[in-house]
Amino acid sequence: MSTTKESLFSKKNMKLIKDPLNDSNPVSIQVLGICSALAITIMLENAFVMSMSVLFVLIAANVVVSSIRNLIPDKIRIIVQLVIVATLVITVDLVLKAFVYEVSKQLSVFVGLIITNCIIMGRLEAFALANKPGPAFLDAIGNAFGYTWILLVVGFIREIFGSGSIWGVKIVPDSLLIENGGFYEHNGLMLLSPIALFLVASIIWVQRSKNRKLIEAN
């Protein structure tokens, strides 16, 4: 850790935000948080609200863990992180239920599933435990947005081809559907979880062919 006081938005710290968007993206490069990328990307809206919840939990957890990193006993650090994340997630759940009941119903089980999102534990373990709250805060933002954009892309593709809508707004008119005498049919595969794997894999493919330094030499 450097002793000289450096600005929160120094070049080195900005890298913490930029890197996870591309070079060290938590989903496409580190392959974390895949479970939720599969489960909640059928609709764009769900993907977005989930991303925002993850953003909040990740920032709060990263900052809290980073602030008490010198107090946490090594032997039980994973459990300590888990307790902190669980507390935050339940807090989110309770607050959503009390103040934005509609949204909380939309998310239902997914809020609880944030606890199991590997990105959160991954960042706590890899970054927050060894860094000051400031950089940890930036690292959380970077990773949460890295997660967000992948989710939004996957959600967008799945919703438009699977349900013919974007953000719940119909794009493909019902009259074009085969059952109404048209020629078009929604792709049912898009509604099933495995398709998200193919989409994430495609994103990884495109990303690596554009960004040569990500390709492992072998």
Partner: protein, 245 residues
């Protein structure tokens, strides 16, 4: 630091303090927010009943204050509770609104004969609707709905369904207008003459359009759940109405 971070004493102390802090935080939060959450749940139930009655659109109700909805509800809705034979058992402490239909369904899963069947009657001048709540099982968890019958106590005039955790984009579609409109876009009846047929959810075309609804593609189990719920759900009420013996 003077304290040895890796000693057992420190570890245990840290764990205890952490748990107490987190526990106290959550307990406080839960207690503080409980009333609000309860009010939200009651408010949603009132909204569902009023929407099923066709008196309001969900969008309109969402704009209103909770107190306003509560007032409309008190003015226009009367309640009754039946047992399985259709006899009214409403009394002090047993109100239709107080019965959580999903909890009631779960508690009496093995013995439907002791179940309490709540009913809401909507009256607005000449416009009378009988709103019947019911619950069943979806794929991942409970599903429930409020079905409004018209003056003849037989024709479906409005439905609202909801669910706890059905798959978004598949089973969760039972809570969307596209599915719910199927119940009112053409006439659906519970009774065929004096025979109790209710309404079923079927795949591959309707053979008996007055008593069948198209299932949701890709959500067979949820559709079946809705079907099963509807098939049995109306019986006690039909007895209460004197349409079935």
């Amino acid at each position: 630091m003077a304290v040895n971070k890796n000693s057992t004493g420190y570890t245990v102390t840290f764990a205890i303090i952490l748990v107490i802090v987190c526990g106290a935080l959550l307990a406080t939060l839960a207690t503080v927010l409980k009333e609000r959450q309860k009010a939200n749940v009651s408010n949603e139930k009132r909204q569902f009943i009023l929407v099923a009655a066709g008196a309001y659109k969900m969008e309109e109700l969402k704009e209103m204050e909770q107190s306003q909805i509560s007032e409309i509800f008190t003015n226009k809705i009367t309640e009754d509770v039946f047992d399985v034979h259709g006899t009214s058992i409403a009394k002090e402490g047993v109100t239709a609104f107080g019965i959580d239909i999903v909890k009631e369904y779960k508690a009496t899963k093995n013995d439907a004969s002791i179940r309490k069947y709540p009913m809401f009657k909507f009256t607005d001048g000449d416009n009378i609707k009988y709103i019947i709540p019911m619950a069943g099982n979806g794929l991942w968890g409970p599903i429930w709905g409020f079905i409004a019958l018209g003056k003849d106590k037989n024709t479906i005039e409005g439905v609202v369904f909801d669910h706890k955790s059905e798959t978004p984009g598949l089973g969760a579609k039972i809570a969307e207008n596209n599915f719910q409109d199927l119940f009112t876009s053409s006439t659906k009846k519970i009774m065929s003459g004096d025979k109790y047929l209710s309404v079923n959810v079927v795949k591959g075309g309707l053979k008996n359009p007055e008593h069948e609804i198209d299932a949701i593609a890709g959500a067979t189990i949820t559709s079946n759940g809705v079907g099963a719920m509807l098939r049995s759900g109306f019986k006690p009420y039909m007895k209460a109405f004197g349409l079935v013996n």
